[in-house]
């Protein structure tokens, strides 16, 4: 058997040679799907399987590492064995992978120009990513689920699906700096509540009080794990009449509170709950001393929704007392007719990534929405042209070592959102992003009816008692949050 296996590469080469007699050579790059040409990947990522255009019924690929090792595959699409792929990428961290691709159409082979994929020296040590799957753009009445995906393989597991909690819209799931031992998400709807998991215990908390608008929805953990900041925002969906935009999602009102998980009491600061203003998108810095958020003047909605523009703000925070200090405008984006959303400081404290669109707080439905980067040591900002596209980029988050980030983009077809991953170096240069690898990318991405949104890295696998949740959602047993005096 061993002898037979050792003969396989020779046999493969023979077959390649055999077809070379009738092989056409093209100076063009192969039209692979997804476009992985020139991307930078972490060692140990799931294999970057790809398809040729449908008229090619066979594909042969040879991958050669600049630091050694090689891999071959043949079939209807390029599908690499996981273990061999991991070995090759790990061997070539800091180097390149050289791809030779041949495709067979109407009995003839074509060999295209070779291309390269870069393997970063920066590892991606996280277990995987979590995300919501939802019909594109529709926030309510549809099937929603939260899933986790092992980023080193193709394994996807549901964390919770709305079939278990019918009628309840599941909101963004939030781990503490990618660590799922502290984890929360919010359910909207009749049994609306916030699920908070800390190590082995979990609780259902009603964060709506007599002094606040409702339950917290979009949250961000304080790094020490005692606090989290949350926006309280009744969300509504509207439609655009023309053919340039489709859906607009906006907040009827929006306030920010900070929740103390020691006793589930809320810090309600009048400066973050102003009636004439909307406060949203909170995020603590990794040192825990600053809270970034966005703030806009409120207008009548949906009529004047395109007048709502958010500035980037920050306020100092004392984790000992929970006291908020001076508020400062960091980027007065509204002055230049822009709107900022989702500030996300990197976990090493070096960068702040945020979204910029023409207006509003829901950039996923804005074609013009782009990712921007702020250097927190200098305050300089720039659009991340390396990853932006003519379509919406949104819902970005950092890996636990802050060398990788992911985001959602509609660039594939303008409608369905997919998850992209890119790396950033110490100077803030980002690499060409790659779409989340799939076993058979065309089959999955062309066949899916779901958008992948609100992705985040997760350091380890999320453990979640799905059956227990079903019982508990409908039991309405809740801890009632109070307001700190």
């Amino acid at each position: 058997m061993k002898r037979l296996l050792s003969l396989l590469p020779i046999l493969a080469l023979f077959l390649t040679g055999a077809c070379s007699g009738s092989t056409d050579y093209s100076e063009e790059l192969p039209a692979i799907y997804p476009d992985y040409i020139g991307v930078t990947i972490p060692a140990g990522i799931a294999p970057l399987n790809f398809n040729l255009p449908e008229e090619y019924d066979r594909v042969f690929v040879q991958v050669t590492g600049s630091k050694g090792g090689a891999l071959k595959t043949r079939g209807r699409w390029a599908s690499f064995p996981i273990k061999a792929w991991h070995k090759l990428t790990q061997q070539n961290a800091g180097g390149t992978l050289h791809f030779t691709v041949l495709g067979k159409k109407d009995g003839r082979w074509t060999q295209w120009r070779d291309f390269i994929i870069y393997v970063s020296e920066a590892p991606l040590t996280d277990y995987g990513i979590t995300y919501r799957k939802i019909a594109p753009g529709y926030t309510t009445y549809s099937t929603i689920g939260i899933y986790q995906r092992n980023i080193h393989t193709f394994k996807e597991d549901p964390i919770i699906e709305s079939t278990l909690t019918p009628g309840q819209c599941m909101n963004c799931h939030t781990a503490n700096a990618t660590d799922p031992s502290q984890y929360l998400f919010h359910l909207r709807g009749q049994h609306g509540t916030t699920y908070i998991q800390q190590d082995d215990r979990h609780e259902w908390v009603t964060t709506k009080t007599d002094s606040t608008l409702g339950n917290v929805a979009y949250c961000y953990w304080h790094p020490d794990g005692r606090w989290f900041a949350g926006s309280i925002n009744p969300v509504r969906q509207s439609f655009w009449t023309g053919d340039q935009r489709t859906i607009e999602v906006f907040d009827l009102a929006s306030d920010l509170v900070i929740v103390d998980t020691d006793d589930y009491s809320l810090i309600v600061d009048p400066r973050l709950t102003e009636k004439d203003y909307l406060e949203s998108s909170p995020a603590f810095t990794p040192d825990g001393k600053t809270l970034y958020y966005c703030k806009a003047k409120a207008y009548e909605v949906p009529r004047y929704v395109d007048s709502i523009r958010y500035d980037l703000m920050r306020v100092s925070f004392d984790p000992e007392t929970g006291r908020l200090g001076e508020i400062e405008t960091v980027i007065p984006a509204s002055r230049d007719s822009h709107s900022i959303a989702f500030p996300r400081p990197s976990y090493d404290g070096r960068w702040l990534m945020y979204n910029q669109a023409d207006f509003g707080v829901f950039p996923i439905s804005h074609k013009e929405a782009d990712l921007w980067l702020m250097d927190l040591s200098t305050g300089e900002t720039r659009p991340i042209d390396e990853v932006n596209s003519p379509f919406s980029e949104s819902f970005h988050n950092w890996s636990s070592n802050s060398r990788w980030f992911l985001f959602s983009s509609r660039r594939a077809d303008g409608l369905y959102v997919q998850i992209y991953v890119a790396s950033i170096d110490e100077n803030g240069h980002c690499t060409k992003p790659f779409v989340l690898p799939q076993k058979n990318p065309r089959k999955l991405y062309h066949g899916t009816l779901y958008s992948y949104n609100a992705p985040d890295f997760t350091k380890t696998k999320v453990h979640f008692d799905t059956r227990g949740v079903y019982r508990e959602v409908f039991s309405d047993k809740r801890i009632q949050a109070t307001v700190k005096p």
Binding site: A135, Y141, G189, F239, E248, D413, G414, Y416, H446
Partner: protein, 356 residues
């Protein structure tokens, strides 16, 4: 087993087989639309019976209206509706849609059960059934309003048993072709290429590079109905959407009739008068509504009658209605036979059942 025993066994097996095939044939003969509806949802007859159960005659009639509406056979939809007034929202919805497509919505509106505005637009919300949501976009597509046509098709697809029904994929492809989102349309067309032979043929013809002249015209006509400016609206602003459609294209007669009928079915006479332009459309229904308005506001004169095309016969009939109404102290018992299908009768006696 003896030879005789084997013979009996064969006869029994043949009888069972015959009965099974016969039963299937009888079912198909009785429920031809059930099978077609199942096919539109991408599932087999057997799967459909497992998921939806066995349809009764009323369900078969409604499924027939959906299937024929999907094929845009509006006369056939109307004919099916006429077989029996099912007093159902979906039945009325397709009855109204077929009449609108045949240019006779106001003339036939009062001939049928009208569950207020829910017979014009099926509500889409947390308490809506997937079946109704799947139907709700048909009217929006025909009116030329793609955002809601797309929403309802997408939700219909997600709620359908196998998430691959050609009914929804074709609608999603077409809404995106109309709005010019060809990449998104291609996604659905590619999915249809994995379907039945008819779906494959349809999909191939719909890739923009393969458009025939009639299909190009169809897309252009629908696009011509779309509002050309961006204005944002909420989920429950149906009259506003219809007015936007009209301001975008004054020749959208269907939008005008739907708006006027919406005003009338919600008994909002003031809105009706504001929306009604007698130079654009006319119908006995609108005459009846105007008479209520003019009687209430004191405008019963020849000038108004001429302006609103109110005939002498309508005026006399209205007088008779009012006389009986007053004579009987507001009771409708003597009005039902003669005026049961008038707007006046609907206006005074129709009561909204909020639970339906």
């Amino acid at each position: 087993m003896s030879r005789k025993g084997r013979r009996i066994l064969w006869i029994v097996l043949a009888a069972v087989l015959f009965a099974a095939v016969g039963s299937q044939c009888a079912f198909l003969l009785r429920h031809p639309y059930f099978r077609k509806y199942a096919a539109l949802n991408g599932i087999s007859l057997r799967e459909a019976r497992d998921v939806w159960g066995k349809p009764d005659r009323d369900a078969e009639q409604i499924l027939g209206m959906i299937v024929e509406a999907d094929a845009e056979n509006w006369e056939k939809v109307s004919e099916l509706a006429a077989r029996k007034d099912l007093r159902s929202e979906v039945g009325t919805y397709y009855y109204n849609l077929s009449n609108a497509m045949l240019g006779r919505l106001p003339d036939r509106l009062m001939d049928y059960y009208q569950p207020f505005e829910r017979g014009l637009f099926l509500p889409v919300g947390p308490s809506s059934t997937p079946f109704k949501i799947a139907c709700a976009g048909d009217v929006w597509f025909q009116l030329g309003y793609m955002p809601l046509a797309e929403r309802d098709a997408m939700l219909g697809l997600l709620f359908s048993p196998e998430h691959n029904g050609s009914r929804y994929l074709r609608r999603l492809a077409e809404t995106n072709l109309v709005t010019g989102e060809h990449e998104a349309a291609a996604k659905y067309l590619r999915m249809l290429l994995n379907g039945s032979r008819a779906d494959r043929k349809w999909a191939r013809a719909c890739f923009p590079e393969n458009w025939s002249q009639p299909y190009r015209l169809r897309i252009a006509e629908k696009r011509n109905l779309m509002p050309q400016f961006d204005l944002v609206h909420g989920m429950d602003q149906t009259p506003l959407i219809l007015r936007i459609l009209l301001s975008a294209n004054q020749t959208n007669r269907m939008a005008l009739d739907y708006l006027l009928c919406y005003d009338l079915l919600t008994k909002d006479i003031d809105a009706f008068v504001g929306d009604f332009d007698p130079s654009l459309t006319r119908s006995p229904l609108y005459e009846e509504a105007m008479l209520i308005f003019l009687a209430a506001k004191g405008g019963m004169n020849a000038e108004n009658f001429a302006h609103y095309h109110i005939s002498e016969a309508s005026f006399q009939r209205f007088n008779r209605f009012v006389t009986i109404y007053k004579r009987d102290g507001g009771s409708g018992r003597n009005l039902t036979e003669e005026f049961g299908k008038s707007y006046w009768y609907y206006y005074y006696y129709a009561v909204k059942n909020e639970t339906k």
